[in-house]
Structure formats: C-alpha cells, structure tokens
Symmetry: C2
Subunit: 252 residues, 2 copies
C-alpha cells in the first residue's frame, strides 16, 4: 500500500456488448484517460466486459481493491439489458432499493416534460444501498458512487457530464509533466541511443510511439516525469540525438 500513499491510481470498466460487437466505437475510454492525466491520476487498467452480471462483478471486484478509484460506463438505463446497478449491488453485497432522492429528481424532471412514470423508468431510481448519487445536467437519471467505484452512463455526453461532477470529489495526484519530441525517423534508428538516454535519466519515463503514414515510419518521443528539470534535461538529450541522425529515405 506504500505505492497508494504517493500515487493516485484508477481503473476503468466499460460495460457493453455494443462495444465488443463493434457496433459502437467507444470514446469514453479516451475521455477518462484525458481526465485522469489532467488530474495527475494514473489510469492503470481498462477492461471492456459484456452485459453479463458475472463479468461485471468480477471486473469491479478485481479493480476496486487494486486502484484508488474505479470508473464505469454503461448499463444504467431503464431497459432489460441494463444490469450494471444490479451487478454493482451484488459486487458490494448490498440491496438495490428505489432511492427516494433519485426518484424525486426523476419525477421532477418527468413532471416538467410531461413524461409518463412507468416501471421501466423507475428502474433508473434503483441505487445500491449506501451509494451517493452522481447527478448530471443532461439526463435526470443519476449515476452513483459506492465505495471507490463511480458508476456512470454510457452515452458519451451524459458520461462526460457525470465525470465533470465527480471531479471535485477526487483526490488528485502529482501531475506529470510530459514533453513531446517529434522524430522523422523510425524506431529502428533511435532504439539504441534512446535506450541509453533512458538509462541516463532514471527519473523520467521515455516513451516512443511509432507512426506510419502509408509510406514511412516516424516516431513521437514523449518524456514524462514529475520534476521539470529532469524532464527538460532528458528532452535536451533526446533532441540532440534526433538532430544528430543522418537523413534517411525509407524506414521499414
């Protein structure tokens, strides 16, 4: 647990057959990744699981003991295939009653919009016992937080509104500086010297991200670290290395 004293970590669980079938292309993972990076939270693992209760329970219980925070997206709507609240309640071993605060919020909105109250809609007021609501401005249906797990909607605009409302409640971490050096050469040219630079700068993490534009490879080199001086020193070495490379025609 020493690690958790200094780092703030997160795991994410995306719940949805529509992502696994390819029908919907996920954008919530990228949103959480950006969100965590902005807050100095280290997003360490993401799992995408199907709309099956056991799969959700297993993922939630694996990640919630491992990371400071867990964020989930998907499966909290009013239809029969929305089973996230049930699975979370089971994962925590608590009941899933109608939450009166959630019901009041939903009924106020429904009254405003002339929406019929029905059994399906009231499913969205079922909140695990002991959870706090995560409200949002887009939809009246709340998400919820139980323990360190934040359960949010799958629709991206609703998900992001909920994430914004969760933000002030989170402990933030030491934000890493990241500096990026573009390199017109493929990784094969820089692999050796870049490894040496990494060895000489143990206080930063140097990542190398290849790109291919259909004709040639290039690389983006990213230096991350908590200390500005250390990041700048490593960056200077990386830039000097890149500048010293002979121009090349094709990288393969």
């Amino acid at each position: 647990m020493t690690q958790q004293d200094t780092r703030v970590t997160a795991g994410m669980i995306v719940i949805g057959d529509e992502i696994l079938s390819g029908r919907t292309k996920d954008v919530n993972i990228g949103a959480v990744a950006d969100f965590c990076t902005d807050l100095g939270i280290d997003l360490t693992e993401v799992r995408i699981v199907s709309d099956e209760q056991d799969a959700i329970i297993e993922a939630v219980n694996a990640l919630r003991i491992r990371y400071t925070y867990v964020f989930t997206s998907g499966g909290i709507g009013p239809t029969h295939d929305d089973i996230t609240a049930d699975a979370i309640a089971k994962a925590f071993g608590v009941a899933l009653p109608i939450n009166e605060q959630a019901r009041a919020m939903l009924e106020a909105r429904w009254k405003q919009t002339g929406t019929e109250v029905n059994e399906a809609r009231l499913r969205m007021a079922r909140i695990p016992e002991g959870a706090d609501l995560i409200v949002n401005s887009v939809s009246a249906a709340p998400g919820f937080r139980i323990g360190n797990v934040h359960v949010m909607a799958g629709v991206p605009s609703v998900f992001q509104a909920m994430l914004g409302n969760v933000m002030p409640t989170l402990r933030t971490g030491r934000k890493l500086m990241a500096q990026s050096v573009p390199c017109p050469h493929g990784e094969g040219d820089i692999g050796g010297p870049l490894g040496e630079i990494q060895k000489n700068h143990p206080d930063v993490v140097i990542g190398s991200y290849p790109r291919y534009d259909g004709k040639r490879f290039s690389t983006e080199i990213v230096i991350r670290g908590a200390d500005e001086g250390a990041v700048n020193a490593a960056r200077a070495d990386v830039e000097a290395m890149v500048a010293g490379l002979a121009p090349r025609a094709v990288e393969g």
Copy 2:
C-alpha cells in the same frame, strides 16, 4: 468446456501507456470487434494494460485460458519500452531467442532499403520459442502466434495487416444475424414493452442503445441471433411496438 465446443470466443489485450494517458486514442479495439463479428467469433473481453511486464503477463495468462483466441496489440517495436515479446515469453515460460526466419526477413528488407542493421532493430527478431511468425506487408517486423495468443503491432495499419494474415488460420464461429430498428423514443418509453418482447423471444438477444443528440434521446434497438426466422419474428414485434408509441416532445 462445453461452451467452447460450440462457441468461438476471443479476448483482446491492448498494451500501451499512450492509450492510458490519453495521448493516443485507440482504434485497434474497434477493428478487432468488427473482425470478430465478421467471423462469428464472440469478442468477450478487452483489457488495456500499461507497459509493465507483470501487468502484461497477468492479462495474457488470465485471458488465454479463458478464450479460444487472444489478440494483443502494441509493444513489439525496437525501443526500450517495447517489452511485449519479453512478457509473452515469460507468460509461457519459454526463451526469447533471435528467430532466424524473422532475422532473414528483416535483413532482406533492410538490404533493400539500405537500412543499417543494429542491436535495436534486431530486438524485433526476438520471438518466443515455439511461436509462428505473423508476417505483414506494411512493415518487415513480424508479429507472432504462440499457443492461442496472437501478438501484433500497435500501429493501426500494421495491426490490421497482421490481423488480415491471421484470419485464414482461425476457426470461425456461428455468425449471428443482427437487425437494427431505429426508435425515435428514449429508453424510458420502451423499457417495459421491450423487456416483454425479450421474454417472448428467448432465442434472440435484444439490445437497446440510447443516443443523445444534445436535445433529445433516441434509441437503436438491435436484435441478434443465429436463426433468421427467430430474429425476424422478434424484429416484427419490436417494429410494431415502436410504431404503436405516441409521438413525444422531449425525453429526459
């Protein structure tokens, strides 16, 4: 194992700090999802893990015993942060020697392009003992298959070229039919009747996917199943249900 006799399943592991930091937005998951759906393979779980050996080993060993196939993307390049081959060799308990076939392929390409052979580049010829190469037309650097695990590049065009070459080697599954019914109403209106239709059509799986356009919610209802008649029958019931709904002003 009865389930595996009739279904072909897959898990995917995306290896990359750049995805978890938000710097790169993943597109390989969507490509694998579409690929599996086309082949009747049931993509059941995806994990995104960081560039840490223990994280990769844990994910590989968890998924390879669970699913017919595992696909990985990322971390097989020539730089110090490319540790996937090392992790896979450890996960399988085998050595990671220079593979002579891989070396010959790489050297042929390097000769053609006048590329210097160096230690970093030769890292890409290190292949776990007992693995088969996954060649691709974009880059000379091969991926590899060991057991049921297919280890491929992170760069999307290279990843997709490798996936295309893996395809003929895979057992395909029973391809599901999927029919989609657009519904101009939010899920709250259809939750009750849609649940009834699901109960009346146990041989299909009915999914409901909400959308929000900034003003109102709508829903895409998807009916999946192996039997065309069953899918069509459920679809007819869904269409009749949608047609019978009163027009509504706002969904909240």
